[in-house]
Amino acid sequence: MDLSLTEDQQALRGSVAELFEKQATPERVRAAEAVGHDAALWRVLVQSGIPTMGVAEELGGGGATVSDLVVVAIEAGRRVAPVVLPEVLTAAALLAGPAAGADLLAGVGEGTVLPTVALRPLRDGTAGPVAGAAVADVVVALDGEELVVLSRREGVAVEPLPDLGGAAIAEVSTAVWSQRLVLATGDEARRAHADAVSLWRVLTAAALEGLRQEALRIGVDYVKDRHAFGVPIAWFQTVQHRLADLATAGDGAELLVHEAAWARDAGSVKAAALARMALLFAGETAFATAAASLHFHGGYGYTLEYDIQLYYRRAKAWQLALGAPRYELRALAADLFAGEAA
């Protein structure tokens, strides 16, 4: 057991942390809110090879492990970077499977194709609101027996939907996304999609974990600085104790995210359950932390001027892109408890 990052991962963290700090400043995050996507940031990510970094080297990708991707997603989350990174990385993983995806994958690597993924299978021709779809060129989706890449006919526009977290959401329906390329069919299609959604859980959990760390830092700095009744509000025990509880849950969330990534890389039988756990716990902890941090800002936390509201909204939004957590909990119970004989 070694719970530290490898040297390579530390170096990776250093460089992506710098990238997001420079390219995803709070001003840029705010500027991108209406569209939910920062095209300049996207170009920088493409130049750094990030969209395809998880794809095997033989296929032109960076050959990174899920643990490496998690390092990147944490740093993106820390700056609430305005790109749908978990969706892009997941879509790239799906395109990398079958030969039919090769051209599109090359386009993702070159930056000419922006992909996203529909996490919920299409039903009656629609996948409901999908993060990234308002700016994406292609959407990878499961439609019945087929894993497909959906795209639009020349000149057909998507209608961006106003949303909680500035995630470039649009409804994905086959009426608008009328062109399809089949990547896989039957069991293979379903398995590939389920596995990709599991990867998305880990990456989104990682992004939420980065968000959580920064939300806590913002809150802790604020309470040390702000005075009331002649003392810093950090002096009040109720403030201290809530932050201590959140820091403790936070250490747990961080470990769980890394464990889920490690389990995927190691091919553990627990990987799918740990991915669900990581998403649920990272989401819950990120939101609780951002909410408390906002609360301890008093009235200022409620103003748009302070950054904590950016974190508060996304802490909830990123997890809910998949749907209501109750379904995740039930599926987790099935993973954990249903398998063994009574």
């Binding site: 057991m1 070694d2 309470v223 201290q240 820091a247 909990l329 039930r330």
Partner: protein, 389 residues
């Protein structure tokens, strides 16, 4: 990042089961329940004699060549069979502290005998007038030549009725501020000046009130410097928190889930088919996994030479609060079945019993409030909120 720690343990699991089949008397569990004593002298002596207690300790202080992973597997197996080893838990904490801070003479006198299972040490920190504010201890120790003469009383001296020694936090200087006048002494419990009175608790555990009149302790069994007791306590308390090894075997949540697969709910269908039940159990499983990981971090920090003070406090805070959430949810989940104790209830009354014993986890070993202050001050850098004194 590499979370494979259980593989070496897994190898030993079978051997540990065989060890327990051969040596653990099932009647000991009933004995523990009826007496409330979380220590079995027969078992303890056996573990010492077979070198299991000394696994992983330095050879010069009585460490044995038994593989520590095997010893851990045996301890977990003992835990899985429902036996607690509190006598070893406290002895180990103090022995580790002794290795850190005591004189060579004290190390040689105590540690090898403790690892052989002959010396059992309990903790004498809490007093009738001080618990969380442990440094406010009033027990007096006055020097008399090569000895210390001790007077006062301690509260909640668990396992004292089965032990050989008590690790006493005493006041040796009343002229200085409270943290600066403390000294740790290792007193013998068979001293004629020691009186042990039982105290019975909600969870069934028997603890004790202990009284000391003119108890003599040789200066060789002073642990750490005179008036340097607070520094010793900081070491000792780190060894107390987050170091608990979870018992092996299925967790309470897993046991309830297995039971709920066939036990019918109010509508006659298996409880686990009720989505709200499944959701609650899944949530509790996440709590357990988080607790396990926080414990892993404590061991990892310790194994890389660090002092896991903050990590141990986090683990203790999380797992004790999670335990209380868990029993609340599980008792509600079982409904009227949760009322039934012992063999009358499902899982031999495990859930009823869990509710009784849950309150103590956030109190002893440093209450949740004390843990939160440690995290707030040392991890988050927030100011001290307690009065200085």
């Amino acid at each position: 990042m590499d979370f494979t720690e259980h593989d070496s343990l897994a190898e030993f699991r079978k051997a540990a089961t065989a060890w327990a089949d051969e040596h653990v008397d099932p009647a000991w569990v009933d004995l523990e329940h009826t007496t409330g004593t979380h220590h079995n002298p027969e078992l303890h002596a056996l573990l010492g004699a077979q070198g299991l207690l000394g696994a992983g300790w330095p050879a010069q202080y009585g460490g044995t060549d038994v593989d520590p992973a095997y010893a851990l597997a045996v301890f977990q197996e003992i835990g899985a069979r429902g036996l607690r080893m509190d006598g070893w838990v406290t002895t180990e904490m103090v022995a580790r502290t002794i290795l850190h801070v005591a004189t060579e003479e004290a190390k040689q006198e105590i540690v090898p005998a403790a690892l052989r299972g002959e010396v059992v040490i309990v903790l004498g920190y809490t007093e009738p007038g001080s618990g969380s504010d442990v440094a406010a201890a009033k027990m007096r120790a006055v020097r008399d030549g090569d000895e210390w003469v001790v007077n006062g009383s301690k509260m909640f001296t668990s396992t004292a009725h089965m032990a050989t020694h008590v690790f006493l936090l005493t006041r040796t200087n009343t002229e200085v501020s409270k943290h600066k006048g403390l000294t740790l002494l290792l007193a013998r419990l068979d001293d004629p000046g020691v009186e042990v009175q039982p105290v019975h608790t909600l969870g069934g555990q028997r603890t004790n009130a202990t009284f000391y009149s003119d108890v003599r302790v040789p200066d060789t069994l002073r642990i750490g410097d005179v008036d340097g007791g607070w520094g010793v306590m900081r070491v000792a308390l780190v060894h107390e928190r987050g170091t608990a090894t979870a018992p092996g075997g299925p967790t309470l949540v897993e046991q309830v889930a297995a039971w709920a697969r066939s036990a019918p709910g109010a509508d006659g269908a298996p409880l686990l088919d009720d989505p709200t039940v499944a959701e609650q159990l899944a949530r509790l499983a996440i709590d357990e996994e988080v607790g396990r990981l926080l414990g892993l971090k404590v061991r990892w920090v310790a194994s890389t030479g660090g002092m896991p003070g903050i990590e141990g406090s986090m683990q203790k805070l999380h797992s004790s609060e999670a335990e209380q959430r868990r029993v609340d949810v599980l008792t509600d989940l079982l409904g009227e079945q949760a009322l039934l104790a012992g063999d009358a209830g499902p899982l031999h009354g495990a859930v009823e019993w869990a509710l009784r014993k849950a309150p103590v986890s956030t109190i002893y070993g440093g209450s949740s409030e004390v843990m939160r202050e440690i995290v707030a001050e040392r991890r988050l850098g927030l100011p001290r909120s307690r009065p200085i004194g």
